[in-house]
């Protein structure tokens, strides 16, 4: 099965949920299409949506919720086609 990693475009803190008490944007096993929001990255108190850039099934997240992230760091692994 081919795999695809969604990379983090900017540095900051990664969130899997829109709010602390909300459901995650996507979970392991969900399917996503390009443009779907998979998480948020907070940079200097501004929140930026992170979108999937490929279609596929979410295999696993590669960073923790509220984890520090760097540009280019893989966030989530997708199983494509």
């Amino acid at each position: 099965m081919p795999h695809h990693e969604v990379l983090c475009p900017l540095p900051g803190v990664f969130y899997r949920k829109p709010a602390p008490d909300a459901e995650p944007f996507v979970k392991e096993g969900d399917t996503v299409k390009p443009g779907d929001t998979i998480g948020l990255v907070e940079v200097m108190k501004q929140f930026n949506e992170i979108h999937a850039d490929a279609a596929g099934k979410v295999v696993r997240f590669l960073v923790d919720n509220e984890g520090a992230v760097e540009p280019g760091q893989p966030l989530v692994m997708l199983e494509t086609a």
């Binding site: 900017l10 900051g12 803190v13 940079v43 200097m44 108190k45 509220e66 984890g67 520090a68």
Partner: protein
């Protein structure tokens, strides 16, 4: 006597507090996240304690880690700065329970004044005006018209379940209110699943004016006001003192009301009472209190000659206020420009990174509060404030000229800054004429005058 002070913060405000503590002969303890290991506040402090990973939720927002750091480092007191845990009543309480002094108000004051509804009630009891509104939901159109007549037009019709500016309509008179009410209720029902609405006076041209106070738990004095109307996305961009909008008589009534309100809760430490000032009617309304030192405190220090952080520490040591109201006067005018790590050309996108080169302005009447040094990191985890450029001069016109020249001296390489925005403001005729309100800056950014 307090001998060792822990500063529960980072960036420029941590440095500001370390400087004040040192001037009063106290030793200082810095705490830091992993991202701030090489920060200037860490380099400056006498004792350094790491408190956790980069995200603030895992370091600067962890009460237990900070209190443990205070105990381990032998600190006697904790200064919270602004933001982070500064207005967290439970933290202030935990600090006191650990046998340490909290350099700030009592947990009780934080709790009361930090709650918008309670603060509004407290203001009303102290005879301080708040924005007139209906007491709760207005059910029928006739009721709305009666209530609106008492509040005064224009009024806002706000959805009880709304928020963040959503679900709001304006009515200029009773006829408009009759038409708008049913629409507003229907909209509220479909948008929020709850048709209840309430009314509030609409202030078309509101200025944000705030009063600095100092209290020792018995007496309260004010240190006059700051004008903070120039905002972008509800974030202050530039502040000045005194407010160019107030007449001497209004200033006196405003500042006196702030003292009355702070006195009514036996306020201790430095605090700021925020008001909306109606440019059209000349009325002012209390909106909320910040029970901590504020970012823009230096402009007050410049025009009054009072070191507010010194006073906070002295009060925390149990000393009575050293200042009488008659000792405090305004001298000249001061302006603060917030230099943020944001790119004004890319819709103020945050710009973390590493500072490769920096030249700070100096000369007469210039003060820069910053944590920047050549080679320092600007981490993405915290707010974007890099430096506060503050000027003082004998009058507002001279202060603007001084700020323009100081901004031209400022040079930062490696991260984008909002310097260009401030240079634009110094040449903006409507800023020069002091003709602005809380909505103006976003309008100027959309359509700059050339």
């Amino acid at each position: 006597m307090l001998k060792r002070l822990l500063v529960a913060n980072r960036g420029e405000i941590a440095i500001r507090v370390i400087r004040a503590a040192r001037e009063l002969g106290l030793e200082t303890v810095a705490v830091h996240s992993e991202a701030d290991r090489d920060s200037l506040h860490v380099r400056m402090a006498d004792v350094v304690v790491p408190i956790g990973p980069p995200p603030a939720s895992k370091s600067y927002l962890k009460p237990d880690a900070i209190i443990q750091a205070a105990i381990d480092s032998g600190a006697h007191a904790v200064h919270p700065g602004y933001g982070f845990l500064s207005e967290n009543a439970a933290f202030a309480e935990a600090v006191e329970k650990a046998g340490l002094v909290f350099v700030g108000p009592t947990p009780e004051s934080i709790r009361i004044m930090g709650n918008k509804a309670l603060a509004r009630e407290t203001a009303a009891k102290a005879g301080v005006p708040t924005v007139p509104g209906s007491d709760g939901v207005v059910g029928t159109i006739d009721e709305a018209v009666t209530v609106a007549a008492q509040i005064g037009f224009p009024v806002l019709i706000k959805a009880s379940a709304g928020g963040g500016g959503r679900g709001i309509r304006v009515a200029g008179d009773a006829d408009e209110l009759r038409k708008q009410m049913s629409v507003a209720q229907a909209e509220a029902q479909s948008a929020f699943g709850d048709k209840s609405v309430y009314l509030e006076r609409f202030i078309r041209r509101a200025r944000h004016v705030e009063v600095q106070v100092l209290g020792d738990g018995r007496d309260v004095v004010h240190c006059f006001e700051r004008e903070c109307s120039l905002q972008r996305r509800r974030q202050k961009v530039l502040e000045e003192a005194p407010s160019p909008a107030l007449s001497p008589a209004t200033r006196e009534r405003l500042c006196e009301s702030a003292v009355r309100l702070a006195q009514s809760v036996s306020y201790r430490s430095a605090g700021t009472l925020e008001y909306l000032y109606d440019s059209d009617s000349g009325e002012f309304f209390f909106i909320e209190m910040n029970t901590r030192i504020q970012v823009e405190h230096p402009i007050t220090e410049m025009i009054t000659g009072i070191d507010l952080v010194h006073e906070m520490i002295r009060i925390a040591q149990g000393q009575p206020l050293r200042l009488k109201q008659s000792d405090i006067a305004i001298r000249g005018a001061a302006i603060e420009c917030r230099i943020n790590a944001e790119d004004p050309e890319k819709n103020f996108m945050p710009s973390p990174g590493r500072v490769s080169e920096i030249i700070l302005p100096g000369g007469p009447g210039v003060r820069v509060d910053t944590m920047l040094y050549p080679g320092c990191a600007v981490p993405p985890y915290y707010d974007s404030l890099l430096a506060k450029l503050v000027v003082h001069a004998e009058d507002r016109v001279t202060a603007i000229a001084r700020m323009r020249r100081a901004l031209r001296e400022l040079h930062v390489e490696g991260v984008k800054t909002t310097r260009a925005l401030h240079l634009m403001l110094m040449d903006e005729p409507r800023f020069g004429a002091a003709q602005f309100d809380t909505n103006s800056l976003e309008g100027w950014l959309a359509a700059p005058s050339s």
